[in-house]
Amino acid sequence: MGFISTARVKSPWIMHFETGSCNGCAIEVFAALTPVYDLERFGILNTGNPKHADIMLVTGCVSFRAGRVLRNLYHQMPGPKAVVAIGVCALTGGIFHDCYNLAPGVDKVIPVDVYVPGCAARPEAIIAGTVMALDRLAGKAGPPNIAPGEPRRGLEEGRVVEIAPGNSDK
């Protein structure tokens, strides 16, 4: 690995966004930051600000309102960036996949690099998923996943990121 990709891999800053579900996974993301799991060992900082983040951890089943926010936040992250969807809610909607206020699945809104299943995903799984997403930062991963179908509406001009493979590699 090159000098730069080493640094990228060793210093992935994360941001967490909960898009509306039961919080179980969100709390597990928090737990992963605390002494027992200590994500900072990997150089990970929880920045809480898309402009500083390299990896976005998304939990929850993407309600309509949260989807709007989610896409906006993704747009504000500087590349190279990766997205880790955590919990089955964020993957497919999980038990909520039939609910009326959501278009389940993070990959319907933004490209996703790693899927961490589980309900709730254990902190260990979150760590493993985050580590997996580092490949994207190192430039080694293939194109991220986008769910097929129409892009979601309700996103105004100027905020829409074209969902296309490789977008997050920019």
Binding site: F17, P50, K51, N72, L73, Q76, G158, R159
Partner: protein, 658 residues
Amino acid sequence: MDAWPIALAILLPVATALLAYIFRIRAARVLAVVVMAAGLMVSALALAGRGSFTYTPESVLGLPIDTLITILDLALLGYLVWIGLSMRRLSVVLLAGLQLAGLGYLEFWLRGSTPAVLPAEPAMVIDRLAVTMNLIISGVGSLVVLFALPYMDEFERRQKAMKTRQPRFFLFLLLFLGAMNGLVFSNNLLWLYFFWEATTFSSFMLITHTGAREALANGLRALWMNLLGGLAFVLALIFLARNAHIVSLRALAGWPLAGWPGWRGLPPIGSSPDLLLLPMGLLCFAAFTKAAQFPFQTWLTGAMVAPTPVSALLHSSTMVKAAVYLIIRLAPAFRGTTLGILVAVIGGFTFMAASTTAIGQANGKRVLAYSTIANLGLIIAMAGINTPQALSAALLIIIFHAISKALLFICVGTIEHGIRTRDIEEMEGLFYKMPMTTIITVVAMTSMMLPPFGVLIGKWLAIEASVRFPLLLPFVVLGSALTVVFWSKWLGRILTVSYHRKFRLEKLPLLISASMLVLAAAVVVASFGIASVFDFLAAPVVRGQFGIAGVVTPRADLATGMGEFIPWPIFLLIVLVLLAIPISFSRVKPADIRPPYLCGENAGEKPGTSFYSARDEINLTRTGNYYVTGVFGEASINRWAYPIAVGLLLLMIGVIKP
């Protein structure tokens, strides 16, 4: 003849004033003012090029000048009494009347058998200090007057004035210039007093220029406060004439000099220097009122209702400087006395209190006013302790403050006309509306608070000078720290550049942009060449008084022996950073510009400024500045500042009791 620059400096503005008043044609006025500005600059340069000299004009049109001045003086005071009567303001009537009486007493009772002119004591002394002041008055003053020409047109358009009052405006503005030049040249205290009152008078006329109720009220406040100082001045004159037979500034300042002739040829009487403390204290008191030191600060902040050129010229760069000028003149006499320390403390206290108050102000001009008061306080403080370094600091601040502050006022005036308000809160994103003005304003503000600009170097010198004066030190330290606060707040606000917008250079009248650019250039050049400025203007004054300069300029910088300030590397750095502008502009592609962080809810046409909130409504974000009015508001400051300031003044009066 030697004296033509002096005559030019005093009479040219007066003549132009009368011309502008009589011939009410705009073109003629513009032409006359431009010619006058050129003339003033020439005369100032001519004077600057010459060494110190003295001059005593004998008579004008066969009338002895002494008499002429007496007559004018009495007329002026009489007019002021009349103003007081017609506006039903008892304080003005009383104060002007008392002065009239005092002056009459001085002129008619105390005058000996025959008025003998004193060949030994010249009426005018032109030394480096006077030259410096003259340069400021004629240089900065002319630029401000030039700026006033287009400004007043716009001003009257805004006011929807039926009939132009510009002739009256320029009459007083230009008369003031003449008076101010006269003031700094005068050595005869009676002359000085006349010019002093003349500036008070024109200040009043200019504050009340619009005739609005607020203007009248504030004008009257300014008038009575200044008249109070004038009364102190007269009392000092009477005391000096009666008890010490001194009527010359130089004599007073140089007292006790053996063999120095007193008033009207009589030897100065009294053997103890303490005797002179009373008149000196009274003169300082007069200076405090004119320099709007706490507790008299309200007249100056109130004077901000006047059109901006007035604020720029009278209420920041020149007229109020007359007060500190007087104190600097007197300083050698009370050096090392308790009076000196008290003067320093009062100045220092004002410096701190005014800087503090400025934090709580949202009105641009009031911020400028408080900053002016603060700087005057610092100058007075420096004059009060009067060491070589302190004097150098005072002089440097006078020079640089005059330029920067005049520039700032001009900028704020232009901004006010551009965006129709002087509220700092409304100046957000100014860069898009008036890029040039904004940049110049930024330069001006930076020059008020940051290195490597002159005012800050002055403050640096002031801190080093006050190290040995523990009573003054806390004020200076706090004041200079607080200065940064209100400037950076304001600066931040006008520098806000919002997301994704194009801008165009604004169109400004030639005279406005010219005066702005010249002053801005002057700020930068003078700060860069601060060593030369110091060597040329300040060092001779200091050396004249102390024999040593106190500050040396070894490497194009200022060194005091305790420390050294090298401005040019900082300039170099700034240039380096400025070079980054084109780079940064070229490297940022439009796609790289993303909306700011609004917790993910950016919305609307301009995603940078609005966000979705409850009901998916689109709301505008805004961020107000912090003024912390509970602590820094005028009311809360005055609660403690007034008692302290009054207490200090009383203390001073207690000290000077003969």
